[in-house]
Symmetry: D3
Subunit: 165 residues, 6 copies
């Protein structure tokens, strides 16, 4: 897979101090602004699993995965060591059935001094894992593909949009 | 990608009751036996990020990601709605630098009435997200690929080993 | 409301030591046996809210409440100070529409040295609160009624069944 | 029990999008203002339990329940799936002995873009469950009654006060 | 302070693999046996703070600290990265007023494949920090002294008892 | 140890209401300002443990302890009952090898209506406990000494700096 960079990268990793030690970025001096990020993942499902996914009002696995993703976004700073705790103003997760699997998209938003890329990615990841959990009795070989950031806005580094593959 | 099934799949999704409602599997009657599972993920990194990854005793990002993965495994049942809480007897995560990225492998083990596939997968996923978090200042387009179960042992369904691609 | 006692009560509160100090019961010497408990609650809903409850495959509020209740059961020992952490083998929550509201029932099971009454009650309580959360834009005066234990089995004190009202 | 509505209800449930899917409300555009909410519950206790409640400086069950309620309020967004994480500025819980049980009242406050009704209700619910936990050795049939919102202030929908029964 | 070792130390740190990498100890093959540990800490308080500590049935700071310690013990494996999650069968914390401060003692017990030293120590630490939190308006210079393991029993390494100072 | 007070203490404990009941301080009316706090602890290590501490890129115990401390700071309000949840803008922990042990220092910062003393202290405490956990196979008698606040700035009470011993 060819990875394309979005414009010029900064000269240094933000999470490291002068001695190369991994650390939390100090965002105390950054202004609180509106931030948004979207991320996605794809859960590849063979035909016999796609067919077995129940479609009924009492609880589709897609709905359980969606709730799990939303709840996980709110706990991102507990899971990712150098993430800041953030008052999220919005989280949403959608799961769409495609010909060969389920496409997951997650959105997170806040008004804060730092971005919500990790919140969107965590929501997509946990929604995908939850879907795997509910399908694994049928097929353990299901693969979660292409967990990635699709776009973000707000903050000093400005908007980012993943280039078309 | 061609997904190969491991032997014959069961006739039904385990997480659904007779009315199609998603639910936790009742493992009360299952014996407590030794269970183990391994999962993996690949974080594709372009050359300029691989080069920038600090290698020094004060804290490589691989080490932070490893700790994050281990801690996440212990919280799997909080994140995946229909997972059972389990007394994990072992969790380990390794991150190995490859030519075009970092290969993550996670192992979980328990002596319990149900398996630890989700614990291994959650450890791999959160380790990968943590690595992304620490590299995203250099390149937001980094993709987490192929989050999947590699093997599991123990339990009524017996051993599973992912077929070679 | 007339409260009926189930057989003869013990002479002392179990959670208190000889000096009257509240404390966790030491269950180290108790055998690990199968335990189960069921609890219930009733969310009284006026007609205009019952009518507005969406009924569609994309996510009924009853399904969100059900998932929330299951997840809450797993965190009971974090919420109730003197509860023991338990490896739950089963949790389920059902929500049934009645003429004047939603009846919630929760079941929890384990094989452990202590019972799961609090887990079943916590699941019912959080499912009820989640339902309130999703209906409160329509009517803030909704009341959660009669959160209570319905039955439990296992353990030295033997089975309990709530007397008919 | 006659439920009275407070003024005119809104036309739609706030937690649902155009397709009827349950989702978190996006509060990004709402101003941060002072919000407060109070909720209550009643734990009906028979005379022999009320008499047994220890009253001494080393730890009354009412005090344990009060602390549990305060701590639970801070975790509301982890428990209620579509709740926003909020920086609470105040939480308090009081338990008052009445002739036939314990009356619980909980208050929560914040300066944020959304209200704290669920935080007050969660505090009251967990305080009540904690009290049940400490009394259940004496009487398992204890019922938690009338968990409800009593008042809220702040926000676009303005103040709410529960009508007198 | 002279630190005395208890008998002969093992040749290696248990938390490291052959390459010196910190990791969780695999306890899968260890038998489940009764384990207990006690730990302590001392919160040095000047006279004017000791005098101000309220002594009344509505809630002494010692009681709040005690509950906080018990609850923290249950979350030890979330806080200490290489700790195993354990089904604790007992936790207790006591705070005793001394001439020049508060002596905190914590006990934890389990029947498991690994010990509860960290659970007892975490309970003592969080109880001490909670006491600090409630006294810091009077004196920020309060010091938590001598947080340490006092004794443990069970497990292959046998009983340990701290030598007299 | 002689404890010196920093200027004149306030007349009352802030965490108590008029009846002496421990409660959370209401910070609703306090302005959001920049706050910072630093805390420290000392883990006394005998020579044979200091020598055994692995020093290699794959993971020193000091690095694991550092990450544990940072993560714990973010969960302070879950651990300390009367603490407010805060959007931390920065947390850092350093561990420095001294002649007779490891000196731990922790810093926390926020822009909020209340201070971060407890966050800095919690980070130092959990880093120290994590270090103990990784060394206890060599020596169970290791003691964590002098867990204390070193300085704080911001807020109505103004800056505090621990007097020299």
């Amino acid at each position: 897979m060819a990875i394309k960079k979005n414009s010029k990268p900064p000269a240094t990793l933000s999470h490291y101090d002068a001695t190369g030690r991994a650390r939390m970025v100090d965002v105390s001096a950054k202004p609180s602004t509106r931030r948004e990020a979207t991320a996605s993942a794809f859960v590849a499902l063979p035909r016999h699993v796609l067919t077995a996914l129940p479609h009924n009002p009492k609880g589709s696995p897609l709905e359980v995965a969606r709730i799990a993703g939303i709840q996980a976004a709110k706990r991102t700073s507990e899971l990712i060591p150098l993430c800041h705790p953030l008052p999220l103003s919005f989280v949403d997760v959608t799961l769409r059935q495609k010909r060969d699997g389920i496409a997951i998209a997650a959105t997170a938003a806040t008004t804060a001094a730092t971005g919500v890329e990790m919140e969107a990615l965590t929501a997509a990841a946990i929604a995908a894992l939850t879907l795997y959990d509910m399908c694994k009795a049928l097929d353990k070989s299901i693969v979660i593909q292409d967990l990635r950031l699709d776009a973000k806005s707000g903050g000093k580094s400005g908007p980012y949009k993943r280039p078309r593959a």
